[in-house]
C-alpha cells in the first residue's frame, strides 16, 4: 500500500503531467511543500458538516446576507 508521501507524489506528478505543466527541481519542492501545507486542511474542509445550508447565490458581499 502506498504511503501518504507516495500518494502525494503521485498526485502532484500525475496532476502536473496531465496539464503538461513542467516544474524544475526547486518548483517541485515548493509544490510538495504547498501540498503538505494545504492538503490536510482541504480534506478536513471537504468533510466539514455545515448542516442544512442553502447556498447564498451571488452574495452581495457589501451587505449582510438576506
Amino acid at each position: 500500500m502506498a504511503t501518504s508521501a507516495e500518494r502525494a507524489d503521485d498526485f502532484i506528478d500525475g496532476g502536473l503531467a496531465s496539464f503538461g505543466i513542467e516544474a524544475d527541481e526547486i518548483e517541485r519542492a515548493v509544490i510538495g511543500a504547498a501540498h503538505q501545507l494545504f492538503w490536510p486542511g482541504i480534506l478536513e474542509l471537504l468533510s466539514l458538516d455545515l448542516g442544512e445550508l442553502e447556498l447564498e447565490r451571488n452574495p452581495d458581499l457589501s451587505k449582510a446576507p438576506e
Binding site: 503538461g20 516544474a23 482541504i42 474542509l45 471537504l46 466539514l48
Partner: protein, 456 residues
C-alpha cells in the same frame, strides 16, 4: 517639527490655512524618501514632475496638496502596476485606477509607488521584484504584506498616508507589523476601478494605512467617496473568542497587549466584553485562501505557466503551478463556508458591535526566516497570520488593525477589530476610543529610524 512629520490631517490643515506650502511639503516628502528609503525600500519609484503636475492641477479638496504613497497594485496614468513581480501573468497598462482618481479628486499628490510582496502572495513582504521592503522598527524584520511598501513608507514617515489593498489581510498585516492603523473597508465600498482583478475578485478592497484612525478616516473618506463621519462608540459591546486559535495560539506578549487593549476599550466606551463563539473559523481561513486562489487563476494556463519568467521567485512559480491542482470540490465547499460564516456573523453582530482579536499572533519575524513562535510551536508567519484575517475578506465585513503595544524587542503589536457590513465608521470610532484610552501612546510611537533622524 517639519510639516512632513505632521499627521495627514495636520498636513491638510496646514496647507489649507497657508501655514505650509504644498510645493515645499512635496519636496520635503521627496527629500525624506531620498534620505530614509535606502533603509526601508518602501518606495520603488518617484516621479517628481508628475507629482508636481498633480499638485498644480489639484482641486481644493480635503487632501489638497498632501503627499500620499500608492501601492504597486494600482495603475497610474503614467505607470502600469507591476504587482511586485518581474512579470505579471495578466496584462497591465497605465491608466486611471479608482484610487488614483479618488486621490486626485481629493486634491492629494501621489509622491511615489509603494513596494509590495510579489503578486500579493504573502503576509510578510519579504519578496518583491524590487527587493523586500523593510520594517522601519527594525530593518531586519518583515514589514508585513502584501502592502509592505505603503506601511513601511508611513512608518518611516516618508508620507503620512498610503493606499494599500487587502485581499486576505494585506492592509491589516503590515499595519500591525509597522505600528500603524490600517482599514480594510467593507467589500465594494472603496475605489477598485482599474485593478487588474476588479471584475473577478470578491475579496480585494483598497484602503488606507496611516498613523492613526483620524487619518484613516480622512484618507478612507477619499477612497470611499463619502465622508466616514465620526460617531459615538459609547456602550461598545466587544465580542472576544475563547478556545480558538486566533485568540489562544498567540505569543504571550501579543495576547497580553491585546487583552489589555480590549479591556481598556470596554472601559473607555462604557461598554462590555462578551465571550462569543464562531465555529469553523479555521475553515473560513482556508476557504478565503481557496477562493482568492481560484479568482486569480483567470490568467493561468499550462503553457503560460511553462513560460513564466525565471526572474519570478521559485516560491511564486511553484505555488502558481500548485494552484492548478487544487480541487474544484474544495472551491465549491469554500463557497458554502462563505455562506455559513456570513449568516453566523449576521447573527453574532446582533449581540456584539465589534469582534476583537490580535491582528497577527506574533510580532514581525525576521525577513530571512519569516517564522513565528506560538504556544503550538514554530510555524510560518503566513500560516499563522491568515487564521485571523481571512474571515473579513471571505464575508465582506470591514476590519481595522490598531497599534496597541510594543514587544520586549521593540516591535509593534496590533489588535484587529471587525464590525458588521457597512459599519466601517464604527471601527474608526472604536479605534479612536482606544487611542484615547491609552493616551495615544502607541499611535504616536515613532520607530527609532524616524526618531533619530528627525532629531538629528
Amino acid at each position: 517639527m517639519s510639516a512632513i512629520d505632521l499627521t495627514l490631517r495636520g498636513q491638510a490643515a496646514a496647507v489649507a490655512s497657508g501655514e505650509a506650502d504644498a510645493g515645499e511639503l512635496l519636496d520635503a516628502s521627496l527629500a525624506r524618501i531620498e534620505e530614509r528609503n535606502p533603509t526601508v525600500n518602501a518606495v520603488v519609484e518617484t516621479f517628481p514632475e508628475r507629482s508636481r503636475e498633480m499638485l498644480e492641477a489639484a482641486p481644493e479638496g480635503p487632501l489638497h496638496g498632501v503627499p500620499v504613497v500608492i501601492k504597486d497594485e494600482w495603475p497610474l496614468p503614467w505607470r502600469a502596476q507591476r504587482f511586485g513581480m518581474a512579470e505579471m501573468l495578466d496584462e497591465a497598462e497605465p491608466g486611471e485606477s479608482g484610487p488614483y482618481r479618488a486621490l486626485r479628486d481629493a486634491g492629494a499628490v501621489i509622491v511615489g509607488v509603494g513596494n509590495m510582496h510579489e503578486a500579493g502572495a504573502s503576509s510578510t513582504g519579504n519578496a518583491s521584484v524590487y527587493g523586500a521592503a523593510r520594517n522601519p522598527w527594525n530593518p531586519e524584520r518583515c514589514p508585513g504584506g502584501s502592502s509592505s511598501g505603503p506601511a513601511a513608507a508611513v512608518g518611516a514617515r516618508l508620507a503620512a498616508g498610503a493606499v494599500g489593498a487587502d485581499g486576505i489581510g494585506s492592509i491589516r498585516f503590515p499595519a500591525a507589523y509597522c505600528g500603524l492603523t490600517g482599514l480594510k473597508p467593507t467589500f465594494g465600498r472603496s475605489a477598485m476601478g482599474g485593478h487588474h482583478m476588479a471584475d473577478v475578485t470578491t475579496m480585494i478592497v483598497s484602503g488606507p494605512l496611516c498613523a492613526d484612525a483620524a487619518d484613516c478616516r480622512l484618507l478612507g473618506s477619499a477612497l470611499l467617496g463619502e465622508g466616514l463621519a465620526a460617531g459615538d462608540p459609547s456602550g461598545l459591546r466587544i465580542g472576544v473568542l475563547g478556545g480558538d486559535v486566533v485568540a489562544d495560539d498567540v505569543a504571550p506578549e501579543v495576547r497580553e497587549a491585546c487583552e489589555e487593549a480590549i479591556a481598556a476599550l470596554a472601559e473607555a466606551s462604557g461598554g462590555e466584553v462578551r465571550r462569543v463563539a464562531l465555529p469553523d473559523l479555521d475553515a473560513s481561513a482556508l476557504a478565503a485562501v481557496l477562493i482568492a486562489n481560484g479568482e486569480g487563476l483567470g490568467g493561468f494556463d499550462p503553457q503560460r505557466l511553462n513560460r513564466m519568467s525565471p526572474e519570478l521567485t521559485p516560491l511564486y512559480r511553484g505555488f502558481a503551478k500548485y494552484r492548478m491542482l487544487m480541487p474544484a470540490a474544495a472551491m465549491a465547499k469554500a463557497a458554502r463556508v462563505r455562506t455559513a460564516m456570513r449568516r453566523r456573523l449576521a447573527a453574532l453582530f446582533e449581540d456584539v458591535d465589534v469582534l476583537a482579536w490580535p491582528t497577527v499572533p506574533a510580532v514581525a519575524p525576521p525577513l530571512e526566516a519569516p517564522l513565528v513562535d506560538l504556544p503550538s510551536g514554530t510555524i510560518s508567519a503566513d500560516e499563522a497570520n491568515v487564521r485571523g484575517a481571512g474571515l473579513a475578506n471571505l464575508t465582506g465585513i470591514p476590519g481595522i488593525s490598531v497599534p496597541v503595544g510594543l514587544s520586549g524587542d521593540g516591535m509593534p503589536i496590533g489588535l484587529q477589530l471587525l464590525a458588521a457590513w457597512g459599519r466601517d465608521e464604527l471601527l474608526l470610532d472604536a479605534a479612536e476610543a482606544l487611542e484615547g484610552a491609552n493616551g495615544r501612546r502607541w499611535v504616536e510611537s515613532v520607530p527609532p529610524l524616524a526618531a533619530e533622524q528627525t532629531e538629528a
